[in-house]
């Protein structure tokens, strides 16, 4: 009895000593996020499926808060009014009413800005994932996949640049804890061009497919290059590098005789959890609506079919804060209509602009006429000096690309913001948005 007592009794003591030893040597197994895929594991070793998820995440995220972007550009560019009973700031601050100023912490800049950089973050994750994945993907596929990511990234940076303009943007944002500097206006747009060019170098002439499927334009690297070049042409024109614009156009999906709607789009659907086209504005609604800036109707050339195609006469005049309109914004006919990212109609007009600037009025007018014919207008008969041609091109861009976020940027490029119509006395036209407060 005595013997067994001791044996039993010392046993737990020995166990305890063993456990203390265990505590110092044995580790707590870290638990990875049980509810969501974790960033680190995707960056370190993503599966093929996870890479596809990242791409779908990018293409879905590209649409996030774009309604604010289009409303910003459309309102300041005096294309349409965004009437809202729940938020009057669309018709006060955005339109520079009286002493109203743009705020650096309000939805019209903070929401599109953060959504844009969120997509950029996802593209950087995709780049890391493609670099590190142990999935069976060839080097060439990793390369073209990365080029896809960079192309999307440069498009998103361009959107940020369009809003911030003279304030410049951050381009190097790969490391959240060590963000690159804000570049100047010129450095920003040049960096975007460089990024597009670098991506295109890996895309052009490639025989590879992306190691994933994309709904933006295509899965073929070489074909995707044409989308990249279309964006490059837009950026080159913004940079007034007319020669490069011409080269980029020739390598893009630009087609003088092709369909004007050919291009890349944001897609929408009614499927559960998917997004609806936020710019679709049901006719004759009051409260939350978009209505046409009246001069868009009155300035139109007689018979311009684009007016009827993109607007609709209201039953009742829409009114808010001394602004009124008799026409609904009706570019999108349903809540699942696609919104263009870039399309052939813009490319044809970029072609016209580049050729006008390169002192080639013949080709410029040729392109202008293609657009005019599409709107049932007769050939251009005006003067062919540079100034006249640019004015004509700006007008065609106004009607062809109505509501697609161009008018404000085009007028800004040519320093013509003061020519935008001011329907309400005392309103101002903003050049750019302030840098968001969270960046200060």
């Amino acid at each position: 009895m005595k013997h067994s007592y001791k044996t039993f009794a010392y046993f737990p003591l020995a166990l305890l000593i063993a456990m203390i030893f265990l505590f110092s040597s044995c580790k707590v197994e870290p638990i990875s996020d049980p509810n969501n895929p974790a960033l680190t594991s995707i960056e370190q070793n993503a599966s093929i499926g996870e890479i596809q998820n990242l791409v779908d995440g990018i293409e879905s995220g590209m649409r996030d808060n774009m309604a604010f972007y289009f409303d910003d550009a459309g309102a300041i560019g005096r294309e349409f009014y965004r009437f809202s009973t729940s938020d009057p700031r669309y018709v006060t601050e955005l339109l520079g009413k009286g002493n109203a100023e743009l705020d650096n912490n309000t939805f019209y800049i903070s929401r599109p800005y953060s959504a844009i950089y969120r997509v950029i973050k996802n593209t950087n994750i995709l780049i890391s994932a493609l670099k590190n994945t142990k999935a069976d993907i060839s080097e060439a596929q990793r390369k073209v996949g990365t080029a896809y990511a960079k192309t999307i990234q440069s498009y998103e940076l361009l959107l940020a640049f369009n809003l911030e303009y003279g304030n410049g943007i951050r381009v190097d944002v790969a490391d959240p804890s060590n963000l690159g500097p804000f570049l100047s206006q010129e450095e920003s747009i040049n960096a975007i061009q460089d990024l597009l060019n670098a991506a295109n170098a890996d895309l052009i002439g490639s025989l590879d497919k992306f190691p994933f499927s994309s709904s933006i334009y295509t899965n073929e690297a070489a074909t995707f290059s044409k989308f990249n070049r279309a964006l490059a042409a837009r950026v080159a024109v913004y940079r007034e590098d007319w020669a490069q614009a011409g080269t980029a156009l020739s390598e893009s999906f630009f087609d003088l005789n092709g369909s004007l709607t050919m291009g890349a789009y944001y897609l929408y659907s009614t499927a559960g959890g998917d997004q609806l086209n936020p710019l679709y504005t049901p006719l004759n609604t009051s409260g939350e609506t978009r209505v046409v800036e009246p001069s868009f109707i009155t300035d139109a050339a007689p018979g311009d079919t684009r007016v009827a195609a993109k607007t609709s006469k209201r039953n009742e005049t829409a009114l808010q804060d001394d602004l009124k309109s008799d026409y609904d914004f009706y570019v999108y006919k349903s809540n699942t209509a696609s919104i263009p990212i870039i399309r052939n109609e813009e490319l044809i007009l970029l072609y016209a602009e580049a050729h006008a600037q390169l002192a080639d009025p013949v080709n410029a007018v040729k392109a202008i006429n293609i657009i005019r014919h599409s709107a049932s207008l007769a050939d251009y008969t005006g003067a062919t000096d540079l100034n006249s041609l640019i004015n004509e091109i700006l007008k065609q861009r106004r009607y062809s690309l109505y509501g697609e976020g161009h008018r404000w940027i085009d007028m800004r490029r040519y320093d013509k913001l003061d020519e935008l119509p001011i329907a309400r006395p005392g309103d101002n036209v903003w050049v750019q948005f302030p840098r968001p407060i969270n960046e200060l």
Binding site: L13, N36, S60, R118, L179
Partner: protein, 987 residues
Amino acid sequence: MRNFPKHVMVFLLILAIPFAVCAQFTVTGTVTGVGGDPLSGASVKLKNSTDVGVTTTASGKFSISLPGKSGILDVSFVGYKSESFSVDPSTGNLNIALAQDASNLEEVVVTGLATNIKRSNLANAVASISANDLVGTTTQATLDGALYGKFTGANISSNSGAPGSGISVKLRGVTSIIGNSQPLFIVDGVYYDNSSIDNGLNAVSKAAAQGSSVLQNNPSNRLADLNPDDIERVEILKGASTAAIYGAKAAGGVVIITTKKGKSGKTKVEFSQSTGIQMQLRKLGGRTWDAAKVEDAFDSLGLALYNAVGGKTFNYEDELYGQKGLMNNSRLSLSGGNDRTTFYTGFTYENDNGIIRRTGYEKKNFRVNLTQKAFKFLDLSLNYNYVESESNRAFFNNDNTGATLGVSFISTPWWIDLHPDANGNYPNNPVATSNFLQTRDLITNREKVNRTLLGGTATFKILNSGKHNVKVIANGGIDYYTLNTLGIFPKELQFEKEGNGTNGLSTYGTTITRNQNASMIAVYQFSASQKLNSRTQAGLTAEDVDQNTVMATATQLIGTQTNVNQAGAVQPYQNKILQKDRGFFAQEEVNYNDIFIGTAGLRGDRSSRNGDANKIYYFPKASLAINIANMPFWNWEQVSQLKLRAAYGESGNFAPFGAIYTPLVPVIYNGTTGSLIDVIQGNDKLEPERQKELELGIDFSLLQNRISFEGTYYVKKANDLILPVVIPNSSGFTNSWQNAANIRNRGVELQVNAIPVASKDWNWNIQVLYWKNTAIVTRLDLPPFNTGGFGSTLGTYRVQKGLSPTQIVGTAGPKDKVDPISGLGLLGNSEPDFQLSFTNNLKWKNFELSVLCHWKNGGSNINLTNFLSDLFATSPDYDDKTLDPTGTLSNGPYRLQESNNTASIWVQDATYFRVREMAVNYRLPDFIKGVSQIKVGLSAHNLINVFKYGSYDPEVSNFGISAINTNVEVTPFPTSKSVHFNVSVTF
């Protein structure tokens, strides 16, 4: 140690015990207390022995077999002064009358994982609540409700009056800003999960859709599953200075619960039955109407409706909240045992109907506690508890769809007829989006819980030589439960049909929680001399948490079907919480002659909740108590105790679950699912929130312990509080989790116990508690921000350096004090100025009267029930003219007009005085043979309430157990008061 030689003798005697095993004798006796009443459960044990001891029976009798030829018996009972008696074979029958002790100096207080300490030697203000304090006065549905007003330093509030409703317990002020602020509950060594689990009804209320992402469904918390009747005692470790030994999880404090154990002796059978009714705590009444008022508020449409019913009004408050809910609580317990084995088994059936039709709470609770002295060196104990409960909770709180009963009730004037026709078809509510009578009668919001708690302890007594005493305690437990939430909103509801809703909605959720914990602790007691002894302990702990919630929300229901697959659309949801913690601790206590009692300890914790799962975080503690009255020079007889104490400790609080991860969230695009980076950046470098608390106190007892005083001052710093800090959005994230704030709490806690009268027939006990806390934000690494509530025009919380974290700010009028930085008015603070509770216990012969009063002074609520009722022109005082100083506007329009200038209109004083518990009991004289006691009584809960606050009850929270932004009310389930008739019979 004045009788030194005697103690040496006893000491030698005890050493001699093992060598004199043959000699044995028996002592019998009776222990009595106040007025000669027998004391049941008093401890009678051989001095300095851990083995030889019994407890008295229900009639106060005991019989103890003692080894050797003589010995000293220690007789003790909680609330009484201990006595010692020398006994030998000639002693025979002892009649022992114990004297009451207001200071409870002999009480043994559980303060750590394996050891306990006499209250007189305690260096901390640990609150202890006995079974009698807890449930002795009146029937208690839940433990947390039973605690309020019974100890200092707590701010407890029920979130609403819904059956099984969640209760928020906050100890010593503000512990966190967005992290957990609730204490850790430990039942017989088992970590007791107290999660608040969402019921999915946001899909109907859309309360969290706009502006606020905080769910406002008022989920219950799972402490409701614990049966208060099974509890023997509760110890509350309020801050880090005491709770440090629990380390990384203990910032909210620790509540240690010990359940009842059997006592050796005759089997005791106890049956008790309580029957009562509950009713609405405060009725507000309705507005009185006439045609002019109707037309003013509801235009011609309203007037037509008013005329259609002939100007008749219905009392909808009575119809909706007027049910006298029958409450029933039946309990049977058996306990007993012998020298080696004891058992306790209890069964409780509780069935409470709410004050609203089709609401209520039903609980079945079964418990078995066993202890076994398996071998000389091994004691075993086992605790098993099974609970099954069901609560039907109606549908309340804020919503953005007008669907809840509360919002619908408040927006409907009483001349609208909402009653169903003969065929049971309900009319649509013409002035609101839902018909609350229809909603009440047709919806289901049910929670069902099945819970099993299993705990076991093995104590190995390795060495017991008198000088050296070593034991190892191994403890383990499992807490396993399944929670089912069921929400059914049939398609014929006004807010579901005709395109108003989703054509019916059914939500079914299952949460399975499986938590386990284990510890192994070695305790070494060393008596260096008669005067000096020490206790060393060290141990390992491990806790695992595994919680998995799956919920399906079905809409577009098929016919009257409620299965989630009988629907046009189903939205699944799943959330898991996994956690592994491993810790160790070591603690050294030194006691010099009960004069100086010093303790130092260290806890180290690893957890998967930290960014680095293997980093050890250390939490130190130290304390010192000095019993001046025990010093040799002390000869002031009137002061029987004078103790100074100081304690310091640190404890931790984990980041919100998931904060260390940077997840990618699912998005739908073009028929496929994608992964998009979340907008909040996780931070695997997060440090746990760390609390540092210093506590200073003085305790003294006067006049043979008839009066005792306990005073405590503390400084509790909650440092490195975790917040989602705004970062440059070009990073791709809007916020990042960071350690970004410190809060300092300072408070005072005072306690006086007294026995003014103790005679044969009369006995009077008083306890007065006073406590107050003030908090201030001392560090904030980000700009001040508003949080909680519904924006500054209605009053909101604001975290700002230099100000209280619980301050309520809002649009400022000319009379309001304005913060120069934010330009917002400083309109109130949810923290009370002070709280005072007062317990009286008066006995006369066999009668006993107990009253617990609670006065909470100050503290503000954001009363949006009032706002909504004014907005819908239904406030009872809408037409009174008591507010407008110019006397032109009546109250409703005046409040609405003023609220355009200042949010202070809705920030209202929540001061209250409340008689929380009140009871009269009568113990029948012994007249039936075999029955040792029969007690009958009447008791009441929250019967008397005095408050000016303009709603049902100032104790309310729309936002559940949030850390700071509570005290907001939006049409809650009204709270209730109750009266009970109680009978208990002990055999």
